[in-house]
Structures are given as structure tokens and as C-alpha cells.
């Protein structure tokens, strides 16, 4: 996708008006609200859930949603609402760490490539192409096949794919900045490329990176659900949304609530993050916003 970075003004003044614009955007507000709700539920699950998700009470199995069990129970008699709360923890953690991996490795690589150009740039970008050439779900399946299934390996699998995303984005945006007059001026003043990158380039592309981070976060949630669904994500007894859907598959006739609620949880989380990202992007790019 095309990367347009038109802001060359100082960071602080932009930031304030950005927030104002963002908060005025309906999709941003809705997105943030949903995301906050999920995050709060996830954090709350550390100290409290309606029922203990580690305890299987077989006699309670497959209860339909009621005041006792809001989202019903699964085939082991566990409370689905509690499982969704704990599952949120897992989804968020996996996606968040995967984004962090992508950022921590991708951004320096991209910035380095843009600052140095030449063969380093070529090599890095070829390596990027190489990683990009492996469809993410395929590499995730391969990685988990080697190291065995589990939340940590799901993180690595998703994180690896995030690296080239951030490297490309950073490099592209940084390249366009390097040709700007004020960067040239800084170079003439004798500042080192590393210093220019830290002082002038990175602050100016932070917004872009945050927006991309939100998108990768939501993609990570989906990817984690997919991996858990095929049995390669978090392992029992830890509940995860994808696994819950896998287990619900055969119960569609006797307990459709087992499939419906985790599905809605995934959709809401991804939706919340996407709306938040869109709202941010609109707020950061007044040109697009004007056209909306």
C-alpha cells in the first residue's frame, strides 16, 4: 500500500491536534471503547473470573446461556464467559509481543537501510522479500511443526512475519524524509546518520508506525486464532479463542453457543483495533480526512 507522510512540522504541536481530531472521530472512539473493554476483561481475569476455568465440572456440561452462566458452559462444564476473559489475555499477549518483535527488529533494520543505502539496503530488502515470500500461515505452521505447538512459538511465528512489514514501512517513509531540505541541512551541520535517524527521522514516522502497529495487532489476533484453531497455538488447559472454536465444531448441534461467543469475541477485538487504527490514520492525515 502507498505510504504518504506529509508532516514535516514539529512533533509536539501535531500531537495535540491529532488527539483532538482523533477523539472527534466516531470510529476512533468506538474502536478505543471496544479495545478498552477487552483489555479490561483480560486484566480482570488475572484476579477474578466468574468461575475457575481450570476446574472441570463434568455435571455442568453444555449448559445454555443463562443468568448462572452468561455465555453457557462447554463440554467440560467450564463457564464460557470466564474462558473468553482468560482467552483474551492470551490473544492480546500473543499479538502484542508479536508486534513488539516486529517493531524492535523491523524498525532499526528499515531505518538502517534507509540511512546507509547501498549493498546493506539491497541485502536487507532481499531478506525482507524472502520472508515476505512465505505466506504467514504457512511459515507459522512450519515453525510450530519444528518447535512444537504453544503460545510462545505462535508469538515467534507471527512476530517473524511482522519484521519485514515494519522494516519496509520504516525504510520507505525514512527514504522520503532523507531527501528533505532540513535533513540535508542537519547532515551539512555534521550530524551522524544515526543521530539524524533518532532525532529527526523516527519522531516523524512514529504516527505511521503506530497506525501500522494497530493493524498488525489486529492481524496478530486473527493469526493467533487461526493457529489455535488448527491446534498449533496455546495449549490446554489455557483457554484460547481459536481452540474454543475448534472444540465447538463438533458441538454445533448440541451447543451452538460454544462457537458463537468466542467468534464474536474475536470479531469484536479485531473490529475495535481496526476502527482505532482507522480513526488514528484519519486524524494523522488531514488530507484523507477531508475527503471522507
Amino acid at each position: 500500500m502507498t505510504v504518504t507522510s506529509s508532516n514535516t512540522k514539529e512533533q509536539s504541536t501535531i500531537a495535540r491536534s491529532t488527539w483532538q481530531r482523533a477523539l472527534a472521530s466516531r470510529s476512533f472512539v468506538i474502536g478505543v471503547s471496544i479495545t478498552l473493554l477487552i483489555v479490561v476483561l483480560a486484566l480482570l481475569s488475572f484476579v477474578w473470573t466468574p468461575y475457575d476455568v481450570a476446574k472441570l465440572v463434568i455435571t455442568n456440561r453444555l449448559k445454555a446461556p443463562s443468568t448462572e452462566f452468561w455465555f453457557g458452559t462447554d463440554h467440560f462444564g467450564r463457564d464460557i464467559f470466564s474462558m473468553i476473559m482468560v482467552g483474551a489475555r492470551n490473544s492480546i499477549a500473543v499479538a502484542l509481543v508479536a508486534v513488539a518483535i516486529g517493531m524492535c527488529i523491523g524498525i532499526p533494520l528499515g531505518a538502517w537501510a534507509a540511512a546507509k543505502r547501498g549493498w546493506i539496503d539491497d541485502v536487507l530488502m532481499r531478506a525482507n522479500d524472502l520472508v515476505f515470500a512465505f505466506p504467514s500461515i504457512l511459515s507459522a505452521v512450519m515453525i510450530t511443526a519444528i518447535f512444537g505447538p504453544g503460545a510462545i512459538n505462535a508469538i515467534i511465528a507471527i512476530g517473524i512475519f511482522n519484521i519485514p512489514v515494519f522494516a519496509r514501512l520504516t525504510r520507505g517513509a525514512a527514504l522520503s524524509l532523507w531527501s528533505r531540505e532540513y535533513i540535508l541541512a542537519a547532515r551539512v551541520c555534521g550530524k551522524s546518520p544515526a543521530r539524524i535517524t533518532v532525532e529527526h527521522i523516527l519522531p516523524n514516522i512514529t504516527n505511521l508506525l503506530i497506525v501500522q502497529g494497530t493493524i498488525q495487532f489486529s492481524l496478530g489476533i486473527l493469526a493467533e486464532a487461526g493457529l489455535s484453531y488448527v491446534g498449533l497455538g496455546a495449549q490446554p488447559p489455557l483457554p484460547s479463542w481459536g481452540r474454543m472454536l475448534f472444540e465447538a465444531q463438533t458441538m454445533m448441534a448440541i451447543g451452538p453457543h460454544m462457537a458463537i461467543f468466542p467468534g464474536i469475541a474475536i470479531i469484536l477485538t479485531v473490529l475495535g483495533l481496526n476502527l482505532m487504527g482507522d480513526g488514528l490514520r484519519d486524524a494523522l492525515d488531514p488530507k484523507l480526512r477531508g475527503e471522507n
Binding site: K55, I58, R61, H75, F76, P236, P237, Q249, T250, I254
Partner: protein, 499 residues
């Protein structure tokens, strides 16, 4: 206006879809064909070169035949050998063969083929997975075209049964090497084609030597997961599952008059296999504590939706020699379990791993067991494994706990093998089994079997959980499918449709 247009479009779509389904249906609608669902795809189709049950589930009795065969009730019956004589000392078997039998490629079946097949199976470089079946054979001699004499090293009570295994089928020297891809046997069905990942198809062998089969063709459709199996059955894509993998769907299927649900027995003792050589499981008190904690009925209800019979030892409960009292040896008693752990110096519990192979009984049963053992402070880390990893790990003795169903018939003898993966080394047990091997009287044998069961239960070698149920689910108009599964097979020779 808007609504009526929409409605017309919808009706139109429905009509198109319906006519297409009708079209699709026609291809399979003839009542002399059968589509059978199987869980695992065979690696290849040569039963003499692999132990995978998935091979026998397709070819046994359908494509390939041996000297003898096992029937639905687990009895030995004549097959390519129409009769046999056993010498006084039990060491010489003379088989009289069927005449006029031809292989599917037209080659004649003779005594030479019997010698070839058995010599090939027991050869040094043989890749037969059950070489043990042939270990007793000293020599195979061709007497004439329809007579074979087999000399044994020592009398073996199981020999006729062994010759009925899928691994002991008779193959033709000319086609033997191609059987993996294009199996050529003497059975009532010929191999038609194999759509990899999808189905194996067979067609009636019109030149069959025995009673002709009613089905003109049959297709074994590979459906690995329980959800897909349920959907395929309900959608009418598959006519029958000999072993239906989704017990949770049974109430729904039983309520549907299109289907028959048939409960049979298996030889599958499902156990919490325990590494008896590894601390802390080498301490009998720890194993007994586990036994006192396990709630079998909760496992059967939660994992199998009530399908299965609790067992107190490693023996099929439908067998006359089953020691039924042993089920009460370790009643669920958490206080006692905790006390036993404390005696073993593990009052605070401990951590261990539980490796679970793919079947539902293991994956779901494992979660329940982990939850139960947590009640006495044992924290189990659940590790799901594929069969390949299971063979590399637990089956080689590298494990703490695992759950597996031992489906071989009469396999209590594995507890006398100290190298078997649960590493149980007990002199009394080894003595009893050694004695059993040389005992012939039924009553004496049963008494020894009961004694063996008591030994392993008292030692709490493994967590004895339940006997796997075999739930056959098929179209109510199908007759002749096996109710029980004494051996891994989907014998279609007696199957027909009633109208």
C-alpha cells in the same frame, strides 16, 4: 416490489442449488455402492509392509486374503485354506488350499504363492511390521499345488489366529512389489483407484472364487476430524462409519430415523500409561495416589459423552476371564490419595508432563485427568503430540504420562515385557505370563489371566480408565457391517442394502 424481486431471486437460487444437489446425488445414488468414512488415510495399501491400522481397515478381507481369517466375533475361519490338519505334537500344520483361485491380475493362486508370501514376511530384510507373527515358523514346504506344510519351531496355540492377521495375507510374487500403490490380492473386491487425501475406491471382483459380494463398488472416504465426520454423515456424503469419532453427535444421529447407531465392543483398553521407571512414578504410592484420584465416570462422560465401559485392569470387560472385582481396588478418595503422596514425601504435589496423541479419547480425557490430578497437587503440563511424535517419544519410553488405547486383542502380555514403554519390571507378572504361554486348559488359562490382572492392578502400573466403545453409525438400510471389531477391519463381504 423490492421484496418480491428478492424472493424470486432466492427461489431461483434455491432451484439451481437443488437441481445441482440432485445431479451430484445421482452419481452415488445406486444402491449397490457404499461410501464408508475412515479416520486415517493409509500411508500405502500393502498390509504386509506397515502396521498402520488404516491399511487393514481398507484391504483386509476385501482385497487381500490369508490362509485363515478372523470373523466378526473374533473366531478363526477358513479363507484361502479350506481346511487344515495339525500334527500330534502341534508343530506341523498342513493346509489344504482352495483351487481355482485367481489374483486380480489374472495370475493363478498356488501353494508357491503361500510359500513366497510367508518366506518374504519372515525374511531378514523383510519390512513386515509384525514379524513376530511368523517367528514360530521353521519351514514352509510346498507339497503340491493345493497343499502347503508349515513346520513350527515349537507348538504355538495362536498360530491359526496369527495367520488370519492382515500382515499374513497371501500375495503374488509378480505383483508383490507394487502392492503399496496398486494392491493385487485374491479378495472379492479389486482395487480401483486412490485419490490421495480423499478416498480409496474398490470395485467388485467378478472372478471371485467364493460367494460373490452384493456391492458393486465401495469407496473409503478419508475424514480425519470429528466435526467433518458429523457434517458428512448428516449431509449424506457418507453412508457409514464403522467407528464414529464424535460421540457428542450421537444423540442427534440416534434421533434421526435415517441412521442406525450400533454399539459394539473393541479390544481397546484405554489407559493412563505411566513411566514406571521414572521418579516419582517409580514409587507405587504415587501411582496408587493417582489411581485413587481418577474419576473414570467423569472421564467417560466428559470425553466420550458416556460411551465406554470403566475398567479396573488391562483386560477387555466382555471377555470371560475379565476380573470384574478389580474396578473397586482404588475407589475415588482424595484424602487417601493425598496421604499416599505425603507418605511418598510429596505432600506438596509435583509437576509432570502428560503427552496426548490425537484421538478424542486422549485429548479430551487428558484435560479431565489433568484437572482431577490437580486436586491432589499434581500439576500436569499437557503436550499434544502427533502419532509420529508419540512413536518417537512415549513409545520409546521417553515420557511421564500419556493416554493411549491398546487395541490389540489379548495383549496383557505386554506387562511381562520389562522393555515395553511403560517400563514395568515385575518378576511375579513375568512368571505368570510365562506360565500362561505353556498352559492349554481353558480354566487354568483363565485363572492365570485373572491373576495377571490382579498383579498389575495392585501395582497400579497404569491408570486403567475405560474400554473404548465402538460406535458404528450407518444408514439404516445397510446390512452386514461388523458390530464389534476383534481386528482392525471394515469387512464389506457381507454388506448389502435393503430397500
Amino acid at each position: 416490489m423490492g421484496i418480491s424481486v428478492k424472493k424470486t431471486i432466492l427461489t431461483g437460487m434455491t432451484a439451481v442449488l437443488l437441481s445441482a444437489t440432485a445431479l451430484a446425488g445421482q452419481a452415488f445414488a445406486a444402491k449397490d455402492s457404499l461410501i464408508m468414512g475412515v479416520a486415517l488415510e493409509p500411508p500405502h495399501l500393502d498390509p504386509t509392509a506397515g502396521a498402520a491400522a488404516a491399511i487393514d481397515e481398507i484391504v483386509y478381507a476385501n482385497i487381500f486374503e490369508g490362509l485363515t481369517r478372523i470373523n466378526e466375533n473374533g473366531e478363526v475361519q477358513p479363507a484361502l485354506a479350506k481346511s487344515w490338519e495339525i500334527s500330534e505334537d502341534g508343530k506341523t500344520y498342513t493346509f489344504m488350499l482352495q483351487s481355482g483361485v485367481k489374483f486380480h491380475d489374472g495370475a493363478d493362486f498356488t501353494a508357491e504363492d503361500v510359500k513366497f508370501s510367508l518366506d518374504r514376511a519372515r525374511a531378514e530384510d523383510s519390512t513386515n511390521a509384525q514379524k513376530g507373527l511368523f517367528a514360530a515358523i521353521e519351514a514352509v514346504d510346498v507339497v503340491d499345488a493345493t497343499t502347503v506344510k508349515i513346520t513350527l519351531k515349537n507348538p504355538a496355540g495362536n498360530f491359526l489366529f496369527n495367520m488370519g492377521w492382515g500382515d499374513a495375507v497371501i500375495v503374488d510374487p509378480a505383483s508383490a512389489d507394487g502392492n503399496k500403490e496398486n494392491p493385487v490380492g485374491t479378495g472379492p473386491f479389486k482395487f480401483a483407484n486412490w485419490a490421495k487425501g480423499s478416498s480409496v475406491n474398490v470395485a467388485r471382483n467378478d472372478a471371485y472364487w467364493g460367494t460373490p459380494v452384493a456391492l458393486a463398488s465401495a469407496s473409503f472416504r478419508i475424514i480425519p476430524d470429528a466435526a467433518a465426520a458429523t457434517n458428512a454423515l448428516l449431509a449424506g456424503d457418507v453412508d457409514a462409519f464403522a467407528n464414529f469419532p464424535a460421540p457428542e453427535s450421537l444423540p442427534q444421529i440416534e434421533a434421526d430415523p435415517r441412521f442406525a447407531v450400533v454399539q459394539g465392543s473393541t479390544e481397546g483398553e484405554t489407559v493412563l500409561s505411566t513411566n514406571n521407571s521414572k521418579a516419582p512414578f517409580n514409587d507405587i504410592r504415587v501411582r496408587q495416589a493417582i489411581a485413587h484420584t481418577i474419576d473414570r465416570q467423569a472421564i467417560i462422560d466428559g470425553a466420550m459423552f458416556g460411551q465406554g465401559t470403566p475398567i479396573g485392569t488391562h483386560f477387555a470387560p466382555h471377555h470371560p476371564a475379565y476380573n470384574a472385582d478389580l474396578i473397586n481396588t482404588y475407589p475415588r478418595d482424595l484424602e487417601k490419595a493425598k496421604a499416599l503422596l505425603a507418605e511418598a514425601g510429596l505432600a506438596d504435589g509435583f509437576k509432570a508432563t502428560l503427552q496426548l496423541p490425537p484421538p478424542t479419547y486422549a485429548r479430551r480425557g487428558g484435560e479431565i485427568i489433568a484437572s482431577q490430578l490437580r486436586e491432589i497437587g499434581i500439576e500436569l503440563e499437557i503436550i499434544p503430540v502427533e502419532w509420529k511424535q508419540w512413536l518417537e517419544g512415549p513409545f520409546k519410553g521417553d515420557f511421564d504420562l500419556t493416554i493411549v488405547s491398546h487395541t490389540e486383542p489379548m495383549d496383557i502380555g505386554i506387562y511381562a515385557n520389562k522393555d515395553y514403554y511403560f517400563k514395568y519390571d515385575s518378576k511375579p507378572m513375568q512368571d505368570v505370563i510365562a506360565k500362561l504361554d505353556v498352559t492349554s486348559g481353558t480354566d487354568e488359562r483363565y485363572a492365570l489371566m485373572k491373576e495377571a490382572q490382579a498383579i498389575i492392578t495392585n501395582d497400579a502400573v497404569n491408570g486403567f480408565l475405560f474400554e473404548l466403545a465402538k460406535t458404528g453409525v450407518w444408514n439404516a438400510k445397510i446390512n452386514g457391517l461388523w458390530k464389534n471389531s476383534p481386528v482392525q477391519a471394515n469387512d464389506l463381504t457381507g454388506v448389502s442394502w435393503s430397500e
